[in-house]
């Protein structure tokens, strides 16, 4: 479910050169063409969609490099809320 929403956000804002539904959860999104500028838009859309705020220490490449990494981070942030 969460991955589905992430795929949708990537489709709208990730500017990937591949269809997000054709990508594995662990696929490297930067290698799929996501620029650092596009990743900021992905971060904003994720914050809006999941009603979260990424703390600054999580604003780094590794957190947004794959759908799986995003899901784990978001799950960590929403746990107990």
């Amino acid at each position: 479910m969460m991955i589905e929403k992430i795929r949708k956000i990537l489709k709208d804002h990730g500017r990937l050169n591949k269809d997000p539904w054709a990508l594995d959860e662990a696929a490297d999104l930067y290698q799929a063409g996501m620029t650092s500028h596009a990743s900021v838009n992905v971060m904003l859309a994720l914050e809006g969609e999941f009603e979260i705020e990424f703390p600054d220490h999580l604003l780094k490449r590794s957190v947004f490099e794959s759908m799986g990494a995003m899901r784990d981070t978001i799950a960590g942030l929403t746990k107990g809320s």
């Binding site: 930067y30 063409g33 650092s36 900021v40 914050e47 703390p55 600054d56 604003l59 490449r61």
Partner: protein, 389 residues
């Protein structure tokens, strides 16, 4: 191999700046020629591997010391300072990202032994100044690579021994999936496509070139340029360039001070009218100096922590690098302008002892080396997610 103590590295650089770089600076500027005398001296003093850790045979200088080196050299000749800064950046990329590779470990030994000068080609026709995007690809076959690139500016390329070049990882990779490739002098041809008749930084000799190169696949720096860029190239560039600009500003300050002191000696007991402007200028120079030193020390502090490399990948650090770059590049021309106002005609004349023409023209390149407008737009976008918490 090197037995420099750390402050010795800076004092040796200062001596070369005063005795050699400053002497040739006007001629280097006038003829837009490479400052060969300065680099011969740096090479002899084994200062071209200052950025390599001691265990790899280098000088073991940290960011603070590298910045001081760049400042010291730029006080004598801005173009020399900039070439040294660019060279340190390339060496740092290799030392910090290549040591998992037997090829690069061996290469570093050669670097120490021969004191090679490394240039850089990150620009490319068609990417409009976006260094994080490449059109050319590192084409790999049977353990070899071929790499051809049409560069808009190639830093002192003809005077460099070897070059670090950005390219797409392979033929199929998207523009943002880049690698750094070490191109050896014997394996490259450079066809000049433009001129280098610039306002300033004329001695960096960085016209456009078409590069044709090949080599062993081992020469591709391990990992991705995205990480090398965030963890090393951007930090070293923005801090060391700022160090260079601080050197230019300090040179202008020294000229303005000399002028005011000479005025004061003519009429002891009366503070010369321009001394008040000098007082204002000295506050600006201090602000710039503290900002450059503070940022360099913060980098060294981060690198002293085991999580250092990871911390450099955060948006928070990227913002700091953007801010140091834009602020020091905007302050420097203002400071040189102050010197011009204080000294007056003596600074305006190109053949006067207190001329600041070269310093002024050199300082104007600062805002263009990775355009400040581009950086502000990236900062604006990052501030949308950064909380500064």
């Amino acid at each position: 191999m090197s037995s420099h103590s750390l402050s010795e590295i800076v004092s040796q650089t200062r001596a070369i700046a005063q005795e050699i770089a400053a002497k040739h600076a006007a001629d280097v500027d006038r003829q837009a020629r490479f400052p060969s005398e300065t680099f011969e001296a740096l090479r002899k003093a084994r200062l071209l591997t200052a950025a390599l850790p001691k265990e790899l045979g280098g000088g073991g200088a940290n960011m603070a010391e590298l910045a001081e080196m760049c400042t010291a050299l730029a006080q004598g000749c801005g173009a020399s300072g900039m070439v040294l800064a660019m060279h340190h950046i390339q060496v740092a990329c290799i030392a910090r990202h290549g040591m998992g590779s037997p090829f690069f470990r061996k290469y570093v030994e050669e670097l120490v032994e021969r004191q090679l000068l490394i240039g850089s080609i990150t620009s490319e026709v068609g990417v409009w100044g976006d260094t994080r995007s490449s059109i050319c690809a590192c084409i790999r076959e049977n353990g070899h690579f071929k790499l051809d690139k049409d560069a808009t500016t190639a830093s002192y390329a003809e005077h460099a021994d070897d070059l670090l070049v950005t390219a797409r990882r392979n033929q199929d990779a998207p523009p943002s999936d880049q690698v750094l490739v070490l191109v050896r002098k014997a394996d490259r041809t450079l066809t000049q496509t433009g001129t280098w008749d610039t306002m300033g930084m004329r001695g960096t000799c960085s016209p456009g070139f078409k590069l044709t190169s090949s080599g062993s696949e081992d020469q591709v720096l391990p990992g991705s340029f995205a990480d090398a860029s965030a963890q090393t190239m951007v930090s070293y560039s923005h801090i060391l360039w700022s160090g260079v600009w601080l050197g230019i500003a300090s040179d202008a300050m020294a000229r303005a001070s000399a002028f005011v002191r000479a005025e004061a000696r003519k009429n002891p007991g009366v503070v010369p009218p321009k001394a008040t402007h000098l007082a204002k200028m000295s506050a600006e120079v201090q602000l710039l100096r503290n900002s450059v030193h503070g940022q360099a020390h913060e980098f060294d502090e981060i690198m002293s922590r085991p999580t250092g490399m990871e911390e450099l990948l955060t948006i928070g650090w990227a913002l700091k690098m953007n801010n140091i770059k834009v602020s020091s590049s905007e302050m420097t021309p203002r400071i040189v302008h102050d010197a011009l106002q204080i000294i007056g005609i003596g600074a305006y004349k190109n053949d006067s002892k207190l001329s600041v023409g070269r310093q002024y023209r050199d300082s104007l390149s600062a805002a263009l080396m990775i355009s400040n407008d581009r950086i502000f737009s990236k900062t604006a976008s990052m501030l949308l997610v950064h909380k500064d918490d």
